[in-house]
């Protein structure tokens, strides 16, 4: 299993002890990335959310009962299960920054990538996007809307990185040496508790790099070997245990 390495590796650290499950990240993402509202959203596994908040429970009765909320964007795997399976290279891990791309004009909509992704981070456009009540006037101009019949997913707000690089170039700075916070995703910006930290995992000065190296930081389904770029931080052992599958006699790693 080879992992592609880049000079810059954009990553995220999400503090599960800070997340209250408010869903502001989901709303911000939908607005930023032009996710069309679904007319009938009653079937929750047919609704488009590039970032979804899951509720975790320790399964114990009161007073030991405890919950945690886990926001799940695309994990931007270093060894992505989705990339090698795509028959038409509509998704790739081949650009500086290490963001897994999704080329929707090339996607044929076979959904093999969705079957491959254990994180359910990929979504299909089941119907034509409809923008009710003049909503199309509020679309983000830098993000293409997608037609029906293609797969899409979180891009770490890639357009924001493009904008930050453009700004640096205009100001005569090196676009590959952005200061921390110059480029962050919309969910990072929207989180009221500061539970999401975004930055370059390869830059030791970035907060995210420090958080990711903490002994409390784990990645989702690490033993599958996808080498993800999203870290989850918690000081609760039962929370960390739910980030991967463990046999009864196995201890949580770290």
């Amino acid at each position: 299993m080879e992992t592609k390495e880049f000079t810059i590796k954009w990553g995220m650290a999400i503090d599960l002890d800070k997340c209250t499950g408010c869903g502001a990240c989901m709303v911000a993402c939908q607005a930023e990335n032009n996710l069309a509202p679904i007319a009938d959203a009653s079937n929750k596994i047919k609704v488009m959310n590039w970032i979804t908040v899951y509720e975790l429970s320790n399964g114990k009765p009161y007073p030991e009962h405890d919950v945690a909320y886990l926001p799940r964007p695309c994990q931007q795997c270093g060894h992505p299960p989705c990339v090698s399976v795509c028959p038409v290279i509509a998704t790739d891990k081949n650009e500086e920054g290490g963001i897994v791309s999704q080329v929707t004009p090339r996607c044929i909509g076979c959904r093999y990538c969705m079957a491959a992704c254990p994180y359910h981070a990929r979504y299909f456009n089941w119907r034509d996007p409809v923008w009710p009540g003049g909503l199309e006037k509020a679309l983000t101009p830098d993000v293409s809307v997608r037609p029906r019949g293609v797969v899409e997913k979180c891009t770490f707000c890639h357009h924001r990185w493009m904008a930050a690089k453009d700004k640096a170039i205009v100001e005569g700075r090196d676009p590959m040496d952005l200061a921390e916070g110059e480029y962050v995703t919309s969910c990072t910006e929207a989180c009221p508790n500061g539970a999401i930290t975004f930055g370059d995992l390869n830059n030791e000065d970035h907060e995210v790099a420090k958080l990711a190296s903490s002994k409390y930081a784990h990645r989702l389904l690490e033993r599958l070997g996808a080498d993800t770029q999203v870290y989850y931080v918690s000081r609760r052992e039962w929370v960390l245990r739910q980030l991967d599958n463990y046999l009864e006699d196995e201890k949580v790693k770290g």
């Binding site: 299993m1 079937n43 596994i45 047919k46 609704v47 899951y54 509720e55 975790l56 429970s57 886990l70 299960p81 090698s84 399976v85 795509c86 028959p87 038409v88 290279i89 509509a90 090339r106 996607c107 044929i108 909509g109 076979c110 959904r111 093999y112 969705m114 079957a115 491959a116 992704c117 254990p118 994180y119 359910h120 990929r122 979504y123 299909f124 456009n125 089941w126 119907r127 034509d128 037609p147 029906r148 019949g149 293609v150 797969v151 989702l220 389904l221 033993r223 599958l224 070997g225 996808a226 245990r241 739910q242 980030l243 991967d244 599958n245 463990y246 046999l247 196995e250």
Partner: protein, 421 residues
């Protein structure tokens, strides 16, 4: 010249020396099948016009009934390439008596699978991207290559059958074309066997490589996971008896003997032998999955099953009731020669392979991999059943027309002459 009005109006088109039902009866049958096809066409129209939102598929079940159906018919349609291989390359001569039917069934299965894929793919107009932007690392790319190429081979194999139609065959150029295509048939049989082996395998490989899905993940040899080989062998272990079942169904419907019992049991014996090879590898594969793949993924055997819908009964049925049992019947001469047991074994064999394709397609997606996620269940809706019925109706139409007008059963005259004498 006087006309014989007791014969069907289209009797001049029938194969030499055969009888067929009246044109009215045939038209009623085609009308019934056509009604089913119309329902399916309506479903297909809705899917193409409104998108896949009209189906029961969702973001957990990107693959559902259609992919299961495709994988099943492609496996069961393997009778075409495998019988072709045995007949033309290994020279097992008696198989000439059923080879035409295997070709037609293969053609129906593959073209039907293509029809379904047109609906199942979100952007069918971009289907050619599979060639233009091919990702050589994807098993699905190989499937796209081989299935499209193999369908062309099947068409080439089907054409001489059409040209041998009594009236068409009187036209010298068509007669010579049919003859020459027959001369070249071993070449096409060889190409077909090559292409079919690879895409049957790649369909299995598609699942085995999914390292994010421990339910289907398998180790393997070089770039091929074990499922690559399992899918090939299981297809040849079931395709031949599927052809026999279709031939028998046609016999029941037409009231004629079309293929001799000896040929049917020969096909059964061949399928049984391949099924035995398959089962040896399947048991070894299941054992390796339980003791290696699952523990290293942090999962137990029980975690792979859920209630009745995705229960262990599916696995036990696939392995024993639809695996070991039909294999034993097909390989034991005494049991094989009992028609009731023989046909039951053939049916169980085909059901077992269908269960295998179903669980690899649907159960793999139903099972949560993230520990905090939940099992989801999938139920195809009317649009999916409708489109599937369309393909079945299409198959029935092609088969009915082929039976009525083309000389596909070399034994038909002899078998029915014996019956009447």
């Amino acid at each position: 010249m006087g006309k014989n009005y007791s014969l069907p109006a289209d009797h001049e088109l029938f194969p030499e020396g055969t009888t067929r039902c009246s044109l009215t009866k045939f038209s009623v049958w085609m009308g019934l099948v056509g009604a089913v096809a119309l329902w399916g066409l309506y479903a297909a129209f809705r899917v193409l016009a409104e998108g896949l939102g009209v189906t029961g598929l969702d973001d957990y079940f990107g693959f559902g009934l259609w992919i299961t159906f495709d994988l099943a018919v492609i496996a069961l349609g393997a009778g075409a390439f495998f019988t072709g291989l045995l007949r033309y390359i290994l020279n097992i001569d008696p198989l000439k008596n059923i080879i035409n039917l295997t070709v037609i069934i293969g053609f129906i299965c593959y073209s039907g699978a293509m029809l379904i894929l047109v609906l199942d793919v979100g952007q069918p107009i971009r289907a050619w991207f599979g060639y233009w932007h091919a990702n050589v690392h994807s098993m699905l790319t190989e499937v796209i290559f081989c299935i499209t190429c193999y369908l062309i081979v099947l068409i080439i194999e089907y054409i001489p059958l059409i040209l041998e139609q009594k009236q068409l065959n009187r036209i010298p150029i068509l007669h010579h074309l049919a003859h020459n295509l027959h001369v070249w048939m071993p070449l096409f049989a060889g190409i077909g066997a090559f292409l079919s082996t690879f895409h049957q395998g790649s369909l299995g490989g598609m699942y085995g490589v999914l390292f994010g899905r421990p339910y289907v993940l398998r180790d393997g040899f070089f770039i091929w996971p074990w499922t690559f080989f399992l899918f090939v062998i299981s297809a040849v272990g079931s395709g031949p008896v599927f052809t026999v079942l279709i031939a028998t169904l046609m016999e029941k419907m037409t009231g004629k003997k079309l293929v001799s019992w000896e040929i049917k049991t020969l096909m059964g014996k061949i399928a049984g032998a391949m099924l035995l090879v398959y089962l040896v590898f399947k048991f070894a594969d299941t054992y390796a999955w339980v003791v290696d793949v699952l523990p290293r993924s942090g999962l137990t055997f029980d975690q792979n099953f859920y209630q009745t819908i995705y229960g262990k009964w599916l696995l036990w049925s696939e392995l024993f009731l639809c695996g070991v049992v039909p294999c034993a019947i097909l390989l034991t001469p005494k049991l094989r020669n009992n028609p009731a047991l023989f046909y039951s074994a053939a049916l169980l064999d085909c059901i077992g392979i269908t269960i295998n394709r179903y669980v690899f397609t649907v159960q793999a997606l139903a099972m949560p991999v993230m520990p905090f996620d939940t099992w989801e269940t999938y139920n195809p809706n009317w649009a999916e059943w409708g489109a599937t019925a369309l393909v079945l109706a299409y198959g029935a139409i092609v088969l009915s027309l082929s039976y009525r007008y083309l000389p596909i059963f070399p034994q038909e005259r002899a078998l029915n002459a014996t019956k009447s004498s």
